[in-house]
């Protein structure tokens, strides 16, 4: 049922801005049709708001007041040296690099030589290409679908299409870097496709970073569609580090075949308003996932992690651990739904979400949901929200450690337990370094 609601100024502006840029967006006729269908669906849906259960704590209709102009083309100069500065501690991750500036592929910043079984292409080019028409892969926005994903289809300019060939074992991680540059505030919409074929292994890191001096404002919409083939392994991470004002809407939709392994780590810091959506479907038996993350929120930052794990088949295992540090008036939201379908016997699912509240004004909303329709399963979830333990602080201080440092030590240890989940060591170190920077500390030598 569609109740006619008055459109907000922002919703109006989004539709108008689509009209204005539609011609400049890449894509064959079929792609254009998909975009038109998606914006139509969005018009019906509007921006998600708190009366939609999945968006209960993150009301975009209230929070998105202005709409920034879409970045449909970009020529902001960026050098490799600047890119490395933007990557900060992640510059030490030794990997292949595929780079986008303000949502547009920048081949001169790439580093994808000798990528072995890894095939990578820019989605912008594929969309426009007549031979490799992506429109078939682009799902139509379903009735009552997700408005943010619909907007992604309507506005996407570019992204990485990654394919890891059957049986290939790609040792170096692939970093898909989205860098923001220039003083122009804009909205950026990117779409990635990551396919790991049967028996293959790879590590993919999506990094959202900012060049010093770039506009602090951005409205980002990123969607990554992941397929992990039979017996394949994908280590996936998304790192978003910003300056406190970004609107960061991200979705990751994952489908796993049998006996697959999928690990995803989400790191968020300095995001004004963030929604990290993760939708994972087990389609083959005997697969395992580990979905974890760490987020740091301060001032009035708001970080929402919304996870749906769908055990559609038997004998799969899911693990989730999310840890948030919330300072100032910051707010952390965690919604984790585990669905166990009637056939999905021997499902093993465990979920834990923890928040460390540094102030009285810090807020944490947690909504774990188990929807279990099978009887022979082991499923559990837990949530904790705690302040720093004053006894432990005293213990540290009685050993001469000043309060600020004692607090940092405790926070690091809290968040460290999540960061430990990252398998790639240089990335793990980089994330620990980000956390320390956030705490106002230089890395411990």
């Amino acid at each position: 049922m569609n109740v006619a609601v008055m459109k907000t100024k922002a919703e109006q502006a989004i539709s108008e801005s689509f009209e204005a840029v539609a011609e400049k967006l890449p894509g064959s006729a079929a792609v254009k049709a998909r975009r038109a269908q998606a914006i139509g669906a969005f018009s019906g849906l509007g921006l998600p708001h708190r009366r939609i259960e999945e968006w209960k704590y993150t009301d975009l209709r209230v929070n998105v007041k202005e709409v920034l102009a879409p970045s449909v083309e970009d020529e902001t100069p960026v050098t490799i040296a600047e890119l490395l500065v933007a990557l900060g501690p992640m510059a030490h991750v030794d990997g292949h690099r595929f780079v986008f500036v303000n949502g547009h592929h920048r081949a001169e910043l790439d580093d994808v030589a000798d990528a072995g079984g890894l095939k990578i292409a820019a989605v912008g080019e594929l969309l426009a290409s007549a031979t490799e028409d992506l429109s078939a892969t682009l799902a139509a926005t379903p009735e009552g679908g997700d408005a943010v994903e619909a907007l992604n289809t309507a506005f996407m300019t570019d992204g990485a299409a990654v394919r890891v060939a059957e049986g290939a074992s790609v040792t170096k991680p692939l970093m898909i870097v989205f860098v923001r540059a220039g003083s122009q505030a804009s909205s950026v919409t990117v779409r990635n496709f990551v396919t790991v074929e049967a028996g293959a292994t790879a590590t993919v890191i999506e990094a959202h970073v900012v060049l010093p001096g770039a506009s602090p404002d951005v409205q980002l919409n990123a969607l990554t569609e992941v397929t992990v083939g039979k017996g394949a392994t994908l280590h996936h991470a998304k790192v978003a580090v910003d300056e406190g004002k970004a609107l960061h809407l991200s979705n990751c939709d994952v489908t796993l075949d049998a006996d697959a392994t999928y690990r995803n780590f989400q790191f968020s810091a300095g995001l004004g308003l963030a929604r990290n959506g993760l939708n994972i479907i087990f389609e083959g038996e005997g697969s395992k996932i580990d979905i974890s993350g760490a987020y740091l929120a301060r001032h009035s930052e708001h970080i929402d992690t919304t996870l749906v794990v769908d055990h559609a088949v038997p004998r799969c295992e899911s693990r989730e651990l999310f840890k948030g540090v919330i300072d100032g008036h910051g707010r952390g939201v965690f919604q984790g739904k585990i669905i166990v379908r009637p056939d999905a016997q021997k499902t093993d699912g465990k979920q834990m979400s923890q928040a460390l509240m540094l102030t009285e004004d810090a807020e944490f909303d947690s909504k774990p949901e188990l929807e279990i329709f099978a009887d022979d399963v082991v499923c559990g979830h837990g949530t904790t929200a705690a302040e720093l333990d004053p006894d432990l602080l005293f213990y540290c201080r009685s050993r001469g450690i000043p309060e600020k440092e004692a607090r940092a030590l405790m926070i690091e240890s809290f968040i460290g337990e999540a960061i430990e989940k990252v398998e790639n060591e240089p990335l793990r170190d980089a994330l620990a370094a980000y956390a320390m920077q956030w705490l106002g500390h230089s890395p411990r030598g």
């Binding site: 006894d391 432990l392 050993r399 440092e405 030590l409 405790m410 240890s413 809290f414 411990r444």
Partner: protein, 251 residues
Amino acid sequence: MLEIKNLHVKLADEDREILKGLSLTVPKGEVHAIMGPNGSGKSTLAYVLAGRDGYEVTDGDILWNGESLIDMEPDERAAKGVFLAFQYPMEIPGVAGLTFLRTALNSVRKKRGEAELTTPAFLKLAKEKGEKLNIDIEMLKRPVNVGFSGGEKKRSEILQMALLEPTLCVLDETDSGLDIDALRIVSEGVNALRDKDRAFVVITHYQRLLNYIVPDKVHVLADGRIQKTGGKDLALELEKSGYAEYTHKAA
């Protein structure tokens, strides 16, 4: 010299006085033992010396080398040489023992105007001091005290003390839960630190410890005050007669 003068301490969020005019003087170079019944205020005294929240000093003063400790933060006190070996050492999940020790040692050194130790220099020191207390360096790679046995926790407290080299050492029931060998090892660790510039306050329930760490004085703390002071033989007497005499006096 430690001078505790007419110390009155109540619980911060309860109207209950725990220390009721306690006076005690411990000169540098001496070891004073404090014995007393359960709940008499021994740990409270130790915590108040170290500066733990939750207690309110309503009267009296604590002077260490002539300076009042009362308004100092716990880390400032540590920098002035105060150290408390906890009756119940805490576990810090996620913080490796070595990181904790190095952070503590370098914080204290910095406050004392000494250069921070480099990682190799620190590791060498930790290894050396650890060996004396039968603590393997591998154990210190694990999170602080997590999964340690009761005795291991107590030994790790003494290792912290040996590294930080405090000048006022307060040991709260460090002997409880130690097996016979550990008791000897810990006592040797403590005795190694005894020197003319250091003062020790050793809280214990058992005379046995005082055979190893021979005290200059023994005090009986009951009902929030020092009820009697004597030499090391007082501990032997208490072993025989118990505290009835002192608790009656208090009641």
